[in-house]
Symmetry: C2
Subunit: 101 residues, 2 copies
Amino acid sequence: MSLDLRKVAEVDRLIHEPARMMIVTILSVVDSADFLYLQRETELTKGNLSSHLSKLEAAGYIDIQKTYRGKIPLTVCKLNETGREAFAIYRSQLKYIVENT
Amino acid sequence: MSLDLRKVAEVDRLIHEPARMMIVTILSVVDSADFLYLQRETELTKGNLSSHLSKLEAAGYIDIQKTYRGKIPLTVCKLNETGREAFAIYRSQLKYIVENT
DNA sequence: ACAAACTGGTTTGCTATACAAACCTGAACG
DNA sequence: CGTTCAGGTTTGTATAGCAAACCAGTTTGT
């Protein structure tokens, strides 16, 4: 094992959480996604999804636009540049771990 | 993204936790390790290390032998077969994720 | 010989997190 | 109209991580 354990200790726990990893993974490939789409894909409950989105937003990783589709509320989420970078770093850390254990 | 999000949702959270990932990673390559060695390597506090070890033991992933080195207490930890399998599965899940995002 | 300090841990208490149930607002429908 | 449904948010609870405090026993200093 040539693995530097510091790299394990330092993974971005915001993304490391599986629920958020799913969200970020989706957002990393779709430009933007609405709440219900994310819910269907992740199979999270609404409450759960809502709070994870809030956390990602608070971290500055995603932007959330509250708008309407016709008369129905619509929440659109987008991974911003900060989030994309954080995800890229996280993935490279994961890659490093996978390759060195 | 051809990634199956279920695989992300289903990672073994016992190992997924960075502190425990460090512990299991060490144990996967050393046959056995004592408490203080693990503490030095992981840089966890004693309390923290102690509780993570208990959790891994409760999960049936490691065996803990309490013995003495001379007159000084010595706690020796070993990743057992169950733990090795769980770690192998976890690593393959991680590999899958890294390769498909 | 006895107090002080050190070893090798465990237990306790606090904070933060994940999660789902309950709730809310407004639109559609019968 | 009142019931249902869409699209969420807030609240309550249980668990998890973490470090401080604690503890049993050993060594060291005087």
